[in-house]
C-alpha cells in the first residue's frame, strides 16, 4: 500500500494532468508491452501515442509512449523498473522546456534559421547562448537578445580552447549542444562531457565525402545528388549515429561553390528537423544507430 502521491504533491499540482513521455530500452522478451501498459492502465494514464521497435540484431526492445494523466515521474520510473528485465534503461520525461547552446564558426545559414525559430518559440526549448571560435556572427546573434561568446582559438592549444569553451557551456547547463556549422573537430575528452547530447550538421550525404570540403569532393566526383546529414557526435569524426538526412539534385552546370550554396538550404532544414525530433524525445540510440519513434 503506497500513499506516496498524497505526500509528494500539494493539492493543487496533484490534480493537474500533464503529458509525460516514457522511453524504454530493454532486452527483448515476451510480455513487455503487456507489463508496461498494465502499469499505465492501473495508474489511469491515457496512452496518447505509442511506438515500439525490436532490434533483432541486438535483441533489444525500444518503446516510446506519451501518456496523459496525474502521476509522479520518479514513482512511475521505479515501478516500470521493477517489472522490466535487468539492463533496461527507463526514462520518464516531463515536458519542461529544454536548454540549448549553439556552437558556430563563420557560416550564418544554420544559425540564422535556429535563431528565427527560437525567437518565435517554435520549440519547447530555448537557445541560452551562442559560442563562436570567430566573432563574425556576434552582432547578428545579439539582435535576437541571445548572448554570444567569442572564444578565440588563436594562440591556444586545442585543449585550452576546449576548456575555455566548456567553462562557458557548463555555466548554462544545456540539455543539448548544437554544432551549427562549427568547423573545428572536437576531442573525445570534450565529447564525453555531453555524450549523446551533441548534434552536428555535416554538409554531405554521409558516409560519402567524410571530412572537409565535401562539396569540392562531390563536384570532382561528378555526383548528381548532394545531401546533408545531422548526427550525434561521438569520438570518431563524422561517424556518430545519423538522425536525419536529405538530398537535392545537382547537375554538371553547378560547380563546387554552386553546390555549397544549394546545399545550405538542406543543411539548415535537416538540422532543424533533427533538433525538433531530439527535443520531442523521439530519438533513441541503438548502438551506433538511431531509433526514431
Amino acid at each position: 500500500m503506497r500513499p506516496a502521491p498524497v505526500l509528494r504533491f500539494s493539492p493543487i499540482i496533484y490534480f493537474m494532468a500533464k503529458v509525460l513521455t516514457i522511453l524504454v530500452d530493454s532486452p527483448d522478451e515476451k510480455g513487455l508491452i503487456y507489463k508496461i501498459t498494465g502499469i499505465l492502465y492501473n495508474r489511469s494514464l491515457n496512452i496518447v501515442k505509442n511506438r515500439e521497435f525490436v532490434d533483432s540484431d541486438s535483441n533489444r526492445f525500444f518503446m516510446r509512449t506519451e501518456v496523459e494523466g496525474v502521476v509522479d515521474e520518479c514513482l512511475l520510473e521505479e515501478e516500470l523498473t521493477s517489472v522490466l528485465p535487468d539492463q533496461s534503461k527507463i526514462k520518464v520525461v516531463s515536458d519542461r522546456r529544454k536548454k540549448l547552446v549553439i556552437l558556430v564558426t563563420k557560416e550564418n545559414h544554420c544559425l540564422g534559421d535556429l535563431l528565427v525559430r527560437n525567437h518565435f518559440k517554435e520549440w519547447n526549448a530555448d537557445i541560452l547562448a551562442v559560442i563562436g571560435n570567430y566573432d563574425v556572427l556576434k552582432s547578428f546573434t545579439e539582435k535576437f537578445n541571445v548572448p554570444f561568446h567569442f572564444v578565440d582559438a588563436t594562440n591556444m592549444s586545442r585543449d585550452m580552447h576546449e576548456q575555455a569553451m566548456l567553462k562557458i557551456i557548463d555555466g548554462y547547463a544545456p540539455d543539448y549542444l548544437v554544432l551549427a556549422k562549427y568547423m573545428r573537430v572536437l576531442t573525445p575528452e570534450f565529447v564525453k562531457n555531453y555524450e549523446e547530447r551533441i548534434i552536428n550538421i555535416h554538409h554531405s550525404f554521409l558516409p560519402a565525402f567524410i571530412g572537409g570540403h565535401p562539396y569540392r569532393q562531390a563536384y570532382l566526383r561528378g555526383v548528381k545528388i548532394i545531401g546533408a546529414t545531422a548526427h550525434f557526435v561521438n569520438n570518431s569524426l563524422d561517424e556518430g549515429p545519423i538522425i536525419c538526412q536529405n538530398v537535392i539534385p545537382v547537375d554538371h552546370s553547378q560547380n563546387a561553390s554552386d553546390m555549397a550554396r544549394a546545399g545550405k538550404d538542406i543543411e539548415k532544414i535537416v538540422l532543424a528537423q533533427s533538433l525538433k525530433m531530439v527535443l520531442e524525445d523521439r530519438v533513441m540510440l541503438s548502438g551506433n544507430k538511431t531509433v526514431i519513434l
Copy 2:
C-alpha cells in the same frame, strides 16, 4: 522436456507455429493495448511487430500486431472480441497466399511490372488472371502463363460489360482487384462487389487533375512537379482513400506526352508499392483515409 520437434511435422497443423497479423479498429478507450497484449501474453504469442494509431477526429483506435506462436485464429478473434468495445472490427489474418485479378486497357507499363514481380514471386500472392477491355496485351500476358480474358465493350451497355467482367472475376474469387491503367469508370454497382478491395493507379498527384488527361492538364497549367496516386476505388471517381503517392520534377521543356512518358515510371512503382503494403495487411481504412501501420 518437450518432444515438440517430433510432433511438429505430424499431420496436426494446430501445433505448428505461424505468423499471424491481428488488425484492430475500435472506438478508443483507456487500456486497449493492455487488454489486447494481455491476451497475446497469456497465449504465449510473441509480438514481432506492433503499431498503433489513434485518430483523434473519429476517436478510433487502430492497431496492427504481428505475432508468432501456436493459436487457432477463430478462437483468438473471439477472445479479442470479448474484451474490446462494441463496434470494434477485429481481423486475425493468416499468411496464406492472396489472389489477385488485374484489369487493363492498352497501356503496358503497370501490367508489365506486375507480371514480372509475380513471375519471380515477389509477393505472398498470385495473379490469377488479367482482364482487358482491349486485347492488345493478351499475347504479352500469356508469355507469363497467366490467362488473359478479353471482354470487348463495343456494342455493349456499361452494365452488360460490367456483368460480363464480374462473371469472369468472380470465378477467380480474388482477394483484390488491381486496376493497372484500366481506363473505364466503374459503376457503384460494380464497386460494391469488391468494396475496399479494388486498387487503382491514377496518373496524377490527386486531387490535382482529377479525371481524364491529367498530363495534358498538368502541361497546360505549367506545373513543375507531376505525380501518381494509388488509391482504393469507391463510388466517387478518383476520390477513394489514398494509399501512396509519389512525384517527379518536370520543366518547361517537357510537353504533355513527355510528362506522360516520365510519369509511367512512377505510376508503376507507386502501384507496386501500394499493392505490397495492401498484401502485407498494413493498410487500414479510417473513413476516406488510409492508416498505414
Copy 3:
C-alpha cells in the same frame, strides 16, 4: 558610323568589362541563334552561359545569354531588335542590385528566412521595406534595420487599403513585390501596377487545394504528400505562372496543424529558390507558364 559609346560613357567606366544578361522572346524562325550570336561575336562579347527553348505550342523562341565584355546596353538592345522578327521582346539587363518590397500578414517563417538572407547579402538585391496588414512582425523586421509599415485593413474598404499600400510601395520603386504569406487577395487593379513582378508563395501543391486552408483540405483528403508553390500573381487567384514547387511526404499520424508546421519549411525554401531565379533573370513567361533558363 556610330561614335555613340564615346559620348555615352565616361572614359573610366567605358573600359570596365561587365556581365550582361540578354533575354529574347520572339517568334521562332530559322537562324535566330546565328543572328544573335553573330552580333555578340562582332562586339567581342564572350558568351558565359546560354540557354534556349522553343515553345512549339506558341511557336515562340526563348533565349537567355550571359555575356562578358564592354558594351552599351541600349545600343545592343537596338542592334538585336534590328535583326529579330517583329513582335520580339528583347531585354538587356545589367547586373545592378534589384529592389524588393515584402508583404506579410502574421506568419513569420518566410519573412524570417528572407530577412536573414538579405542581411547576409545572399542576393544581388535588397529588401527596402516590409509592409504588413498586421503589426505582429514589426519589431522582428526592425531588428534587421528594415523599415516596417503597418497598413491596418480594419475599417477600410479593400480598395482604400490597397491604395494605402500602393502609396507606400510606389515610394520604394521596387523591381519585385514578394508576398511572404500575405493572406489577403489582391485585386486586378492592384496587380496591374506590378504586372509580372509579384511573387507569391502558396501553401499547397497547386493546383490541388486552391484557396484558403489547403492543409486542412489536404488532411481531410488523406494525401500522402504535401507541397508548396511559388508563382507570379495574375488576376486569377492562385492561377498565375508557377515558378517552383516542392513537396514533402506526410502520413496518417499528422493532422492538419502538423502538416501546416511541416509545410512551413518547404514554403520558405521554395519561395527563396524562386526569388533567387527571378533575381538572376532566369524566369521568362510564355503565356501562363514560366520558362526557366
Copy 4:
C-alpha cells in the same frame, strides 16, 4: 518556286528531311556558337533543340544540337571540323536504331524492366542478346524472344571467361553494353573493348558504400536514405562517370534485406532513365564526369 513535295517522296533517300544530333566537345573560345549555327543556317537546317555548356575547369565547350533538314552527315561533320579549333571532337549522329547487349548474373528486376521496355519498343534501340554468368534468367529472357547466352565462369580463369563473353558480344556488334546487375568485376582489358560504352547500375548512392554488400553497409551505418547510381564503367571499379542517381528514404525498422528489396525499385528506374539519356545521345563526357545536354 520549289516543287519539293514531288521530289520528297522520290526513291532518293538523300533528299528526305531527317533529324540529326550534332555533338561538339571542343576547347572553348569566342564565337563557337556563331560559327556552328552559321553552318547550320547556311545549310537550311532547322535547330529543334540546342544546349551548350562550358566547363570552366577544363575550359572545354560542349554543345548538343538537334536539327531537322536534308544533309549528308559526313559532309556536315567535315564542315564543322573545318571551323572548330583543333582537338575538337565532333559527332553527327543519325537516328538509326541502336544495338544493346545486356549482361546479368542472377537478379531479375533490372533485366525484367529492360526486357518489358524493349518488348514494347520504348527506345530507338533493340536488345540483341542477354548474357549471364548464371543461367537462372535464361527461360525468362527467352519468353521475350531475346537470345540468352550462358557463359559459365566455373573452372575458368577470369581472363578466359571474359574472352568467352567478348566473343559472343562482339558477334552482336552492340553500341552499348548494359550491366543489369552483372556481379563480376570487369578487367581493364575487357573494358577497353567497349570504352565509354558500358553502363552499370550500382546498388548504392556512390561514392558511399563502394564495393560489395552496400545495403549491408548502409544498414550497419544506420543511414536514413539509400540510393542507386548508374555510371559508365572505366578501369576503376565503381568510379566511372556518373550518369544518374536517385534515392529513397529508409528508417530503423528496415534491415539490410528490406533495404535491398526497397532499393531494387530505384535501381531499375535509374538504370532505365540513364539508358534512355544515353540512347538519345544526351550524355557527353568531360573527364570523369558526365555533361547531360
